[in-house]
Symmetry: C2
Subunit: 255 residues, 2 copies
């Protein structure tokens, strides 16, 4: 069983990719909706929350954990690997960095994400470790998550805000752009429209799913389970939109 | 001592009004930054958080509590009054409703707030109790808080979004508009610009401060104290902007 967690509903874009690559594996999802968003919280707080969730997923029988939240991957992945040596922990940041290194030819790439993710500078560090010649340009886009949550995906205001955010990266002539937040694949069309055809958009979910597939992760088909720390109509609606089907969601209290 | 709480930094707009009305009273502020925002969380979760914070403030010696968060006022004020009969509990929703009833002449008013506040319909109920003849038109504006947090207050995109949100209320020809979220006074100029001169903007903080002044609340001038559940540079920056001075902020863990 694969345990997957995020601060909210966004991690379901990663679930979608994993289910596509490994249709026979059951997943357990945890969305920390009572304490979202993580993007503007301190590293210490995010580590504490991530630790509680990992314990919950391990108790449910997951030996493979996927951190499907960029903020948590940025500041808590190393912390969790040290604290839980018996678990195999994947994170969207490592996968995203590998994916963009493979995608670029001009060696100029862009990374967008929440304020916490970009401030942590973890993408730049990971990408530099893989290929020190790559120039990395970053930009935080804190309004993208609320715009997705508000379902303003196709609106002109969203396009206008995307133009403001992406202007500099466009001027730098990057040839690949990493969507460093699990909500951003939902804005793919808008972002692609602003960046133009020559810029390849890269999301972590696809690469991460491929890695899991290569590792031949097996698991009984017990059926997937979805947990949240707070149940809201909002989560139900957006979950259906992302996964393209209705799911049963259970509320649990962690702390 | 007056204890004041909010999910984050927004409640400091209420602190500012209270300090203006009662310069000799000490306050203790609690901003639940580790779990913000409340606006998209369930009533049950918001009640649990509000209860924890009230216990904290009471332990610090506060006998008067001000709920400076509209989402918490909407769904947790009654719950807290029942649970803590020894405390005097004020909330921004009751004060806001009184203020707008006093402000309107045409008996057509607008109320804007977060999705949770508007969905609770609590403003409409409170206003109708005070004057059943008043017609109340409401609109949730979920992007306003992130726009303030991003400091996009003066930008054209913010004005454009405000126009979208406020269009219907303008068509209804309301003569008073209640800013039903503590962040919104920071957008007062933008909102006033869209609504036009004939619409009076009303915020809860001012009315609530006046009520406290009338009650002759006294207290030793021990100095104000500010607590948060997560310390971020963001809070420091916005707190300085709202209060117009630098404050010392202490982090505490509640749950």
């Amino acid at each position: 069983m694969i345990g997957i967690f995020d601060s909210g509903v966004g991690g379901l874009t990663v679930v979608k990719e994993i289910k596509r690559a490994l249709p026979n594996v059951s997943i357990i999802y945890f969305g920390d909706t009572a304490r979202l968003p993580y993007g503007n919280k301190s590293a210490q707080t995010i580590q504490k929350y991530s630790c509680e969730i990992t314990e919950f997923l391990a108790e449910k029988g997951c030996r493979t954990i996927v951190i499907a939240c960029n903020s948590a991957s940025s500041v808590a992945a190393g912390f969790l690997r040290e604290k839980f040596p018996g678990l195999k922990i994947y994170d969207v940041v490592s996968s995203g960095a590998e994916a963009i290194v493979e995608a670029t030819r001009s060696k100029k790439v862009g990374v967008i994400g929440t304020t916490a993710t970009i401030a942590s500078d973890v993408y730049r560090q990971k990408i530099s470790q893989l290929d020190p010649k790559i120039e990395v340009f970053t930009k935080n886009c804190p309004l993208f998550v609320p715009l997705v949550e508000e379902n303003w995906i196709g609106r002109s205001e969203t396009k206008k805000i995307a133009r403001v955010y992406l202007k500099e990266l466009k001027l730098k002539k990057v040839d690949a752009l990493l969507l460093g937040c699990t909500h951003y694949p939902l804005l793919e069309k808008v972002i692609a429209g602003v960046m133009g055809k020559r810029v390849k958009l890269v999301s972590s979910g696809c690469k991460l799913a491929e890695e899991l597939r290569k590792k031949n992760i097996n698991g009984s088909k017990n059926g997937d389970k979805y947990f949240v720390s707070d149940l809201t109509p909002h989560f139900m609606k957006l979950a259906g939109k992302i996964l393209g089907k209705k799911i049963t969601i259970e509320k649990v209290q962690l702390a």
